[in-house]
Symmetry: C2
């Protein structure tokens, strides 16, 4: 869409908020849907989150790629003003993931996972990143998530994601992360596994008692629930006629939300509600094409229009008895 | 809760809207959850829908029960001013259903279905019902749904539910019903089966082309989507810490919605949005206890409070760029 990344830069306004540090995976994904297949396209949680956040705040990306990682991918990220000083280029192959989606996109099968350079990754933050005010720890080993927090001086707001593998295998380490984050985003099954509760509001209550004041439970195309001291917020997923590839939707949701929080600085429950709507908008764009392709041609006006459409989606007149 | 039904009547204000005709099943349900079990409690789609609607409009219930149907159940319905002139008492046993819920309540197994008197049921409407302005055809054989419509003179607004069994086995007859209804409510799997589309907005588009201007896709605890000429409305399900028994939630949702429409007379898309919020509130009460037990102690002030809580659940400040 934008063969010359520098032209994309020219179109974008400079983001004005605080810096957002994003740590996690960059990957080459092979995706099979019912209608199509893409081989070794740009992916990874940190990649999606960074790109989504970059529409709102200056992003610093910490992760690792192998020597086979295409230069064009780095150029694409740089074209969004994503700071790659923290991106390690290790000798070896980039992390690879392959998966196949069912017809309704609600179930996917992992066909292959090759950790490659990601297996021995230890995040080393450039000294300049120590002042990061906002931090998003995408889904990686909780041991690494704690190591990252040890390298940031006094973050204002930290959020993390995680997955079943760490909840089951590194629970103690994960609990140590949760003690130090303001917000956790995880899916419904992960919330149940972590809390031992089947009921989601009950699960959120247990998880909040582990540390994070804000718990966001992601439910795919059923939207998300946000639990905090002021109650519950339900954000439906934006219903789309055209879903091409849901990979990265949850990461784009988190990235869009964190980018908005970094931009506005409003981390109150009300501020987080609005940020989650922005995250939902970014997630809805993400699924409209493979990889980060839909983001390439995205601009603020289009994002603004979808946020307005989102407001329309949930609008109703007060029930008058 | 209310051993003397007449006292319940005394508490309630007279509903003021147009009459709502409800046709469908009355049943004796045996329910197993992870923590509890109830045998032969009052159930059936028309029963839940009528009771939920009765908070807002005068209800006329058409259905059949056997000679074993407890008189106390009839008294309970009458205590809500539900007109039972159309309730046939046949010789034989009442329709019975038994099911078991998984821990997260999202999956249930039917253990037993005995149609009994329901098997030969042919709805015969009392002459006085021919003027019914609002009609809800709960999930029954589409042949019977058409027969009901033949006995109503000029209904203002007709809605129907259906199920996989009729979509697969009586498609032609079901399509004949859909041509004559203003609104259809069905769950996501049924919408996919009926339309042949996996994508829900696409499915809704196909179903709208079959007749109903309004299509409501129910998604259990993921809420509902309402498609009409003015766009999409997403109503999340009200998140509850205490779910006891989800049986009848979808029917209470439909009944609450139809009751509200009959009360207000506003069947515009905006009016339906509000009615669906009321339906969501009724569904949320329904699941808080077995059978219709939670409804017994319900009053308008409590419903009003939940509708307000629902508004709070989806509230967010406009995204200001």
């Amino acid at each position: 869409m934008n063969p010359d990344p520098s032209r994309t830069v020219a179109k974008q306004a400079e983001p004005t908020g605080s810096s957002l540090l994003v740590v996690g995976s960059l990957a080459l994904d092979t995706i099979e849907t019912q209608n199509s297949r893409r081989e070794e396209v740009l992916g990874g949680a940190a990649c999606y989150a960074s790109f989504a956040a970059s529409f709102f705040a200056p992003v610093r990306l910490v992760g690792v790629v192998g020597s086979d990682f295409p230069r064009a991918h780095e150029d694409l990220l740089r074209s969004r003003n994503i700071d790659l000083a923290g991106l390690e280029r290790a000798s070896g192959r980039t992390f690879r993931w392959a998966g196949r989606y069912a017809a309704d996109f609600n179930n996917r099968t992992t066909l292959d996972t090759q950790l490659n350079v990601f297996e021995t990754f230890r995040p080393k933050l450039p000294a300049a990143y120590a002042d990061s005010a906002f931090v998003f720890l995408a889904n990686i080993d909780p041991v690494l998530q704690v190591e990252v927090l040890g390298q940031v001086r006094r973050p204002r707001f930290v959020a993390c994601d995680t997955m079943n593998f760490w909840i089951g295998g590194k629970r103690t380490e994960l609990l140590r992360v949760l003690e130090r984050v303001n917000m956790v985003l995880l899916n419904d099954e992960e919330a149940r596994q972590l809390s031992g509760k089947d009921n989601l509001p009950a699960a959120a209550g247990v998880i909040r008692s582990m540390g994070p004041a804000a718990v966001v439970i992601k439910r795919g195309d059923a939207g998300a629930l946000f639990f905090s001291e002021e109650g519950v917020f339900a954000a439906p997923a934006f219903p789309l006629e055209k879903v091409v590839d849901p990979t990265g939707a949850g990461d784009s949701f988190a990235g869009g939300c964190m980018g908005w929080l970094a931009r506005t600085g409003d981390t109150s429950p009300a501020g987080i509600r609005t940020a989650l709507v922005v995250g939902s908008a970014l997630a809805s764009f993400c699924v409209e094409d493979f990889s980060l392709d839909r983001f390439r041609s995205l601009d603020e006006m289009t994002i603004r229009a979808r946020c307005a459409a989102f407001a329309d989606l949930v609008r109703f007149e007060r029930v008058r008895f």
